[in-house]
Amino acid sequence: MPDRDRPLKIVLIDASPERAAIMEQGLRDAGHTTIMRITDHVNLLARIYAIDPDVILIDLENPSRDVLEQMFQVSRAVRRPVGMFVDQSDSASIEAAIDAGVSAYVVDGLKRERVQPILATTISRFRAFAKLRAELEQAKSQLEERKTVDRAKGILMRAKKIDEDEAYALLRKAAMNEKKKIVEIAQSVITAAELLG
């Protein structure tokens, strides 16, 4: 059967189930149907050999990446040799993948035209996930900051018998004078109150 007619078996190794789900959806949208997810590291190599995939995608936060490197070795256990997907001339693709936080291992002899779109999908999904995570982190830290400022306002309101707007104005003025962020001033107020309290 010609290489292009055979459906590719893809294994996703990702410690993050959320990201793995996003990845799998992306690959399914691109027409791939045989996708297996592995989220733990138990007996990894034996499981991969049992699946006998064409393409393995692994996130770079995963120590098991070194386990996959064993697939390059000459061994009776390996039925099909696995090579790096990208050849020497294609370092831009490697760089893009590593930058996005993912690495790919592909069985030797698989046509480059078949692998490129898979990697492109992977890279774009990894980037999208990283962006999502960064936004979530930012939202979380903004929420934390607001809580800190609210606590500091409360302390000032009680100590100085002022209202909320006046308390906020005090924090803002101190921040301007000291060239600091309001949240930093708020944290100092809380720390001071705890020490004096």
């Binding site: 590291h41 138990v42 007996n43 190599l45 770079l60 936060e61 995963n62 120590p63 098991s64 990446r65 070194d66 386990v67 996959l68 490197e69 064993q70 390059f72 070795q73 000459v74 061994s75 009776r76 256990a77 790096m84 990208v86 020497q88 370092s91 490697i94 760089e95 590593i98 690495s103």
Partner: protein, 368 residues
């Protein structure tokens, strides 16, 4: 004065001590370097990030630096090792049942610290299992291109155990090693500090051999940089070498061990209990076999015994292991490239020292 930034990737192991101490005790800053350390989770990541230029330098398994220079199982990028990050530090640990099986097969009067005797006993265990129709033992090591792989193979082959036929050798990332032993995915392993002691601490493993019992002066990690980077930044590289050598000398001072263990134990460094790290620094390792402690003043070498000077004969030996185990072609040009990547000339020039006379046996392999 502004400091020159240098970014180095490391794996959380005791033998990352030299760059960690250089950064955290101030030796790098004294040389005008802002040394940023980035903790990584896999050797493959470190290798790729070094070759792509995300890192200026790396705490890297010496065989990976050579394999990358030769383009074995990875994209070929010439690397250089202007400094060895010490020598030794590995140990071979077995599960308590396998340890006991080996002991039962020891020749009368033979010592457990004698690798010929334990190898023969291990061979007997393997043969007994085969007769009984049992699975061969699986032993863990950290990477195909690693001294852990070669030390295990050396021990096995010397006893007539064929590493690719009679046992299974499996890559297990060091942080998963103890877990793999607990779940019986491996029955033993060769790994660096602190993981052998962690296995002993949890009573999951017993140390059979310190690495020094197999190879007295074994190359382990190097400070690897791209050869191109070294050519572009000779003066910065020299300062980096000096900072690391100072850190290595500081690590050799017994009075500094407690502080060293504490600094290495930090959450952003190894994130392992200081008292376990200290065992490696002291060269006094509880084996888990009763109250026995195996003691060696060269269990892990930092500054002493010329351990930081990259010795081209170590590179040649590592290349010979790759050839022996069919990772590299038997090509004299490959051996020369490997040897040339060990840059003792850069090391000597950085320290303003003349090349020392070469000792007769730079390795001390137990079979020689």
């Amino acid at each position: 004065m502004s400091l020159d930034p240098v970014k180095i990737g490391f794996i959380p192991l005791v033998d990352a001590a030299i760059p960690i101490i250089a950064a955290d005790v101030g030796f790098a800053a004294e040389e005008g370097i802002a040394l940023e350390l980035v903790r990584e989770v896999s050797w493959a990541n470190i290798r790729d990030r070094l070759t792509l230029g995300h890192f200026d330098g790396a705490h890297l398994l010496a065989p990976i630096a050579i394999a990358t220079t030769l383009g074995l199982a990875t994209v070929k990028v010439p690397l250089a090792a202007p400094l060895a990050l010490g020598l030794n530090g590995n140990a071979v640990t077995m599960s308590p049942p396998l340890f006991e099986a080996i002991r039962r097969h020891m020749a009368p009067g033979a010592r457990m610290a004698d690798p010929r005797a334990t190898g023969a006993a291990f061979k007997a265990v393997v043969e007994e299992r085969r007769r009984n129709g049992d699975e061969p033992p699986t032993l863990g090591m950290t990477f195909p291109f690693s001294t852990h792989n070669y030390q295990l193979r050396l021990w096995l082959a010397a006893a007539g155990v064929e590493p690719d036929e009679d046992v299974r050798l499996a890559v297990v990332p060091p942080p998963f090693m103890v877990d793999a032993l607990e779940n019986a995915h491996v029955e033993g392993f060769c790994v660096g500090a602190p993981w052998n002691s962690v296995a002993v601490e949890y009573k999951l493993g017993r140390i059979l051999h310190l690495g020094v019992e197999l190879v007295r002066r074994c190359p382990e990690k190097v400070l690897a940089v791209r050869a191109h980077w070294l050519a572009q930044n000779p003066e910065l590289a020299a300062r980096l070498v000096r900072a690391c050598v100072r850190a290595a000398d500081w690590l050799d001072e017994p009075n500094n061990r407690e502080e060293a263990a504490r600094r290495l134990a930090a959450p952003n460094r190894l994130d392992v209990h200081a008292h376990i790290i200290q065992r490696a620094l002291d060269g006094r390792l509880a084996t888990g076999d009763g109250d026995e402690a195996r003691i060696s003043d060269s269990y892990i070498l930092f500054g002493g015994d010329g351990a930081t000077r990259p010795d081209h004969r170590h590179a040649r030996w590592l290349h010979a292991q790759m050839v022996r185990w069919r990772q590299a072609a038997d090509d004299p040009a490959g051996a020369e490239l490997a040897a040339a990547s060990y840059r003792a000339d850069v090391y000597d020039a950085a320290l303003g020292r003349a090349a020392p006379p070469e000792e007769d046996d730079p390795l001390g392999v137990f079979t020689d």
